[in-house]
Amino acid sequence: MDHNLSQDFIHGRIGTPVKRLDAVEKAGGYAKYIADMDFGTVLFSRLIRSTKSRARLVNVSIPPLPEGYYYISRKDIPEGGENRLHMITDDWRVFAEDEVRYIGETIGLLVGPDKSLLLKLESMIEIEYEESIPAFTIDESLNLKGGSIYGDDNLFADYHLQKGAGNIDSVFSGSSRIIEDEICTGFQEHVYMETQGMVGFFEDGKYVITASCQCPFYMRKAVAGVLAVDLDKIVVRQAVTGGAFGGKEHFPDVIAGPLVVALHVIKKPIQIIFDRKEDISFTAKRHPSRIRFKTALDENNKIVGMDIDIAINAGAYQSCSHIVLQRAVFSINSVYDIPNVRIRGRAVATNTFPSDAFRGFGAPQGIFACEMHMSHIARDIGIDDVAFKKYYFTVTGGLTVTNGTIHEDVKLPEMLDKILKASDYERKNLEYGKGNGRAISMSFYNHGGGFTGDGEKEIIKAKVRLKKHSNNQVSIYIANVEMGQGFQTTCSKVAAKVLGIPLADILYETPDTSISANSGPTVASRSMMIVGKLVQTAAEKLLVDWASDSEHTVEVDYVQPDGVEWDGNNFQGDAYPAYGWGICAVEVVVDPITHEVDTEGVWTVHDVGIPIDDLIVHGQVHGGVIQSLGYGSLEKLEIRNGAFYQNTLADYIIPTTMDFPSIHSDLVENPYEHGPFGAKGLGELVFDGAAAAYAAAVQKAIDKKISRIPVNPEYILSLRRK
């Protein structure tokens, strides 16, 4: 690593690391995030939000506003415009109408030049509500507490699937033993280190928004209908983004909606940047889940069937909850091929802040539940959980819960060997026993790369554009953002390697809806696998007609590879074209008096196809695993009277340097023929498993069943007391 910008990857292994393209700029403090950028004189703003969970909005009384101060609300939406954000569904309103559905719902936007005066005016706003009874939990929602919030039954989605053609009920009635279980996960806050923020201005008839975001084109689509303007009248540019993790996938729409209405009225630059407490209190979180299993075993203690009920708490608006639910459903058997599975999945409406995308997007919930349930079965029948689980590992050709097939090589046995060795699992497991305060365990997981089924073909229809300049530099014009995951660098490496030119000659143009090709959102672990592949193809095309000193532009559209069959109406077939795979092992010691846990070691092995950059890939593993360990052990986020209770970084605690040791990260290579240089998606895979490994290890250490996260000392105490 003595090269300034190693070019070894061009002629050698693509994974040979380079110095990330944005590293010095960021480490030297030169990079300008939205709060650092100079837009000249801007107006500041305060979102005025509901303080009630469920109420009729009787009256909003605004104090007299000085010159230059505005209160923007529903009344300011122009003729023909809709009070709806066009996310995936159109239900999330820009401004509350006659009623409010959750604490934090946007009622209006106060705009003006002086922040202190804005705060003062905000405190003078008086809102009269007529409250009714809210529902906060999955049970309260299913019981229609306070009357239904959505439709007749509070269900944004209700899916029924069956794997296999067997008669599930007779499988159960013929079984020797049935094991029942309920596993729960809670809210999780992204805690991207840079809070939400954007600045908008009106110029040449266009509304231009610069935002910390993952999906500029999503934002444009979400708000164009609010002003009843054509898409090209809204321009969204990405600002350097300080972390996102799914929290800046759809949520920025919720800020952009009021912003464009304000721009429409005021026509001056306006900034909306969240304070941290505001961000924790009033942005979307990971969906809480409650997953129930009934598993039938035969007389040899082999699983012959599973009946699963998945419920996720969607909050007051649907946003993308049905898609999160789909992924929870599709991941509910993790890496196992289990026969005769019946699944019901429901996304329920409650009066809480709408939940939305967060790294893993339903898979962490499904996988956590599956992994804990499998470990509970193992415990009940007296076998070690790892020995029990590996019997059910799927293989190439294995059937998925949607009756599709696993097309790729499944490297789990090789990965298991590696991790057993690296962690010294077998010796330790034997030595530590159960319930002695020290234990080691593992979780197994996979993550389908890209959009479900034919989403890429039918919905996204990604395009990429490459332009060769006359000086032989090449610009990449795509919508996928650099948000910390290294995509700017890895995508540039793909192009540089195909073209055989230095990395410094690849210009990754900042995503901007007015100049970028719409390659789709930076989500679903699709960027490298799908868009990177398109960039590879486009670069190959560019190379064919490469002529020095001349300009040349190439555009490539997504074409779905053959062999992926999907029925989106019934959720049958191949939900994903390829999967990333992972195993995580965690060793813990539990204090007998304080019930605090010391994590002694963390080991991982992942199959991400081929790494495009070793440092970036391992860096993603480290970060995803620590974030997942936080989810599993520290990050408690409760609702009290409808609001998030732990709403500062002092109380919503994420891991520090002292909480976990360094992660051992290993990879197995397993090239995917339709991925660039064989790469598959990895951004979410690396989050999916660690929480379950941690919980399973603590479970063994205290010899009590763990059925929810975070596994904090209070929970451990309550289990030890039973």
């Binding site: 480490a27 280190m193 840079e194 300080g242 290294g486 970036i616 480290h622 994420i654 340097t657």
Partner: protein, 157 residues
């Protein structure tokens, strides 16, 4: 409003401010030094770290009134020095930078550490960074980055 005179990145300056103004806001908004970031405003995340008389502090909770006669160093003040370049390059080569928002604070915390402990072990590195939160890297590569800086920077500190 009071006149407050202090040394900033080696130069003596005077600002006229309400003494309760946060040092973070004076640096970013009045003096245009945006390397320092607001991550939480409550002293919990370290994204706003600067050196005050050589010690690491969170500028979001330092009132400008406490800065009278004091020596403040921000990332802008060390990034072009041998020390700063060593840390920045080591970070860049070790994969220690992902979204970059915590990184300026991490560089300051590393500088504060290496000045007192030029050859830190892993525990000392973790402890020195324990007030700086990162959500992207899992901290592994920040540690190896600092170890690399310590190795390369022998004699600088």
């Amino acid at each position: 409003m009071q006149e407050i005179t202090f040394t900033l990145n080696g130069k003596i300056i005077t600002v006229t401010e309400n003494p309760s103004s946060r040092l973070l806001d004076i640096l970013r908004e009045k003096l245009g030094l945006t390397a320092v970031k607001e991550g939480c405003g409550e002293g919990e995340c370290g994204a706003c770290s600067v050196l005050k008389d050589g010690k690491l502090v969170n500028s979001c909770i330092v009132p400008i009134g406490a800065v009278q006669g004091v020596d403040i160093v921000t990332l802008e003040g060390i990034r072009d020095t041998e020390e700063g370049k060593c840390i920045i390059d080591s970070f860049a080569e070790s994969g220690a930078v992902q979204c970059g928002f915590c990184t300026p604070g991490m560089v300051m915390a590393s500088a504060a550490l290496l000045r007192t402990t030029p050859k830190p072990n892993e525990y000392q590195i973790r402890e020195a960074l324990s007030g700086n939160l990162c959500r992207c890297t899992g901290y592994n590569m920040l540690i190896t980055g600092i170890q690399l800086a310590a190795k390369r920077g022998e004699g600088i500190w």
